[in-house]
């Protein structure tokens, strides 16, 4: 943590795009971070410009960036709100960091992510052309399962099967996309697997245990073998009625090193505070220090960024 303020340095690099038409405001391309010092009433705007006009701080929300850290699984979870802005953030973040990214985009089309990515400063088309981004567009390629003949199983082969058995073809696709190749292409940094989203697989008929096995294998390969990172989005129904989703969510939570949970405000929709973000650090096999294990922030999504502030410290109410 920064010595000057308690909340400043946590999320400076979350340059995030709103996931929909949340607001027509067009603010500067930066993070606005409101923090209230101990004296209480004044407010500091700390702006981190993406173009390097101010300092860049290492962001604690991105684990596994140090060379000696093995790969990590980051779980994005949303309850009663839309957490896909985090997916857009991580996608643009890792592309800008020169990592090789395999993106399993099951929810939206390529052009959707491309448009959003352009607002955040990355071009998915360019990244895909130069081989940095391997993009599986679920909506389009699901048609290929039925209308094109493939010699080897299609990654979405489970759509054809009566009992959606396992996701091994999908895992093979990921492994093939991210395995290190020698000397044929510019060296990318650590490989990253990004999935949007895993709850959709449950809706498509895959069992929770099969999805857990898929993530298990991705973790074993991408995190442990390739020393990369895995980021996955899961929805939380919240009311406990969807048992399969709860098993999936809890099972993934136990495997994760970092859990980012976005929630809507319990009091309902608000124009100035769109939700709150809970950050939980876990070390599944190391005793976790009790301090700094979890943090809660509230956020507001704007056109080209997301501003974070401590609870109750929204600029609208101060």
């Amino acid at each position: 943590m920064d010595s000057a303020g308690s909340v400043v340095s946590v999320a400076p690099q979350l340059l995030i795009q709103s996931a929909g038409s949340r607001s027509s405001e067009c603010s500067r391309n930066s993070i606005t971070f409101s923090t209230s010092p101990l004296t209480g009433r004044s407010r500091q705007d700390v702006a981190w410009s993406r173009r390097g006009q101010s300092r860049e701080r290492s962001c604690r929300l991105h684990p596994g960036r140090r060379a000696h850290d093995p790969g990590k699984l980051t779980l994005l979870c949303d309850a009663k709100t839309d957490g896909s802005f985090l997916v857009h953030h991580f996608l643009s973040f890792y592309l800008r960091a020169n990592c090789k990214v395999c993106f399993l985009a099951l929810v939206q089309s390529f052009s959707h992510y491309n448009i959003v990515g352009q607002k955040l400063g990355v071009s998915l088309t360019v990244a895909r052309e130069r081989g940095q981004l391997v993009f599986l567009e679920g909506l389009k390629s699901s048609m290929d399962v039925f209308f094109q003949a493939h010699k080897e199983p299609h990654p979405l082969q489970f759509l054809r099967e009566v009992n959606a058995g396992n996701l091994q073809p999908l895992f093979e696709f990921v492994r093939e996309a991210l395995k290190p190749v020698d000397n044929r292409e510019p060296a990318w940094r650590c490989p990253v697997l990004l999935v949007d989203d895993l709850s959709l697989l449950l809706s498509l008929g895959v069992g929770a245990v099969a999805v857990l096995d898929f993530v298990h294998y991705c973790r074993a390969t991408v995190c442990c073998e390739f020393k990369g990172n895995v980021v996955a989005l899961v929805h939380d129904s919240g009311d406990g009625e969807d048992e399969e989703n709860d098993i999936l969510l809890n099972g993934l939570s136990h495997q994760s090193h970092l859990i980012l949970r976005t929630e809507g405000l319990s009091t309902g929709f608000c124009r100035d505070v769109h939700g709150q973000l809970k950050i939980l650090w876990r070390r599944p096999s190391q005793p976790t220090a009790q301090r700094d294990r979890s943090l809660i922030y509230q956020y507001k999504i704007q056109d080209k960024n997301v501003s974070f502030f401590a609870k109750g410290m929204s600029p609208a109410v101060l």
Binding site: F171, A220, D236, D246, I247, N250, S253, I259, R282
Partner: protein, 334 residues
């Protein structure tokens, strides 16, 4: 938090909350530190470590493994959830040399078909551990039972666990169980049925929880032919996986008692009386019930109604009313 996990309620159970006070002297502290682990490792059989997302149990599992290894026991680990190098992280090399790691993490379902996977998949790996024939005390750590429970039928798993923890009794060597099975179980993943089944197999259950900044373990021991004992220890685990037992948080910040054993008097705020005063009791006793045929009632019925309120029915027949009793519906065509 994630998955709706709140701070798990600490049920102090029948044994009461045992809060440790510092003794102040170095031997006393060492005794206190090792007491919790010693009491956990004193008996064999199956020990369940039930953890949750917020209070993870793998570090306690590793602390128990370290203690067993330091006592000179053989330790076998069936690792399903973390890689071998992540599991061995934090142990010194002499402890690592004592651990035998069976890797079910890298390729549990044989997807890679390279032949490196453990034969027989999860069930094969588990039954292989049951067939161990080395003499001497051994600790078997299953990391985790939840993974096995998701991939094997509950009955198969329970049968294998029973076989695993009762190995030596079949050899007939001694009545003391020399096998200890430590199973890590993630509570939120399973329904009450499998949890109950595993719980009934276990000799010791450790339920992990805590309050802000302080982890606790609620330990339930079931010994044959003895009463179950409970105790709650507050602890923290150091980076080298030794255990540091602490006194609990101050009483004011103790978590609220289990809602099932609420101390609120349910008799307050009732909208009805549960007790009668003396006058009300007398009035109640002297009340004659309407269906009781007492002598007064008999007299009242026999006497014609003099000044008594009897009911009369006044009937004004309409013009088309037919009071012919023999043909009330007036439809007989006679």
């Amino acid at each position: 938090m994630v998955g709706g996990i709140n701070d798990p309620p600490l049920s102090s159970g029948g044994g009461g909350l045992w809060v440790l006070t510092p003794s102040g002297s170095a031997p006393g502290e060492t005794r206190r530190k090792s007491e919790m682990l010693d009491s956990l490792l004193a008996f064999g059989g199956l020990m369940l470590l039930r953890d949750s997302v917020e209070w993870e149990g793998r570090s306690l599992l590793k602390a128990l493994i370290k203690k067993s290894a330091l006592c000179g026991e053989q330790v076998h680990i069936l690792g399903c959830e973390v890689s071998e190098e992540e599991f061995r992280e934090g142990f010194t090399s002499d402890i690592n040399n004592c651990l035998v790691y069976h890797d079910l993490f890298r390729d549990p379902l044989n997807w890679s078909k390279t032949g490196e996977a453990l034969p027989g998949g999860p069930l094969g790996a588990l039954t292989a551990m049951c067939r161990r024939t080395d003499p001497g005390p051994v600790t078997i750590a299953l990391d985790s039972l939840s993974w096995l429970l998701l991939h094997l039928p509950c009955t198969t798993l329970c049968q294998n666990l029973h076989a695993l923890s009762h190995q030596n009794s079949s050899l007939g060597d001694s009545s003391v169980q020399q096998v200890r099975v430590l199973g890590l179980l993630h509570e939120e993943l399973h329904g009450p049925g499998p949890l109950g089944a595993l719980s009934s197999l276990a000799q010791t259950e450790v339920i992990l929880g805590g309050t802000v900044g302080q982890a606790s373990a609620y330990i339930l021991c079931r010994r044959p032919q003895q009463r179950p004992t409970h105790q709650t220890n507050w602890f923290s685990i150091l980076p080298d996986f030794s255990l540091d037992v602490q006194e609990g948080p101050p009483v004011e910040s103790q978590p609220h008692p289990d809602p099932h054993t609420s101390l609120v008097d349910p008799m307050t705020h009732l909208t009805f009386n549960l007790r009668l005063s003396k006058k009300e009791r007398e009035a109640k006793d002297s009340l004659t019930l309407p269906f009781q045929f007492s002598s007064e009632k008999q007299q009242a019925l026999l006497r014609p109604g003099q000044g008594q309120a009897t009911s009369h029915v006044f009937y004004e027949p309409d013009a088309y009313d037919d009071l012919d009793q023999e043909d009330p519906d007036d439809d007989l065509d006679i």
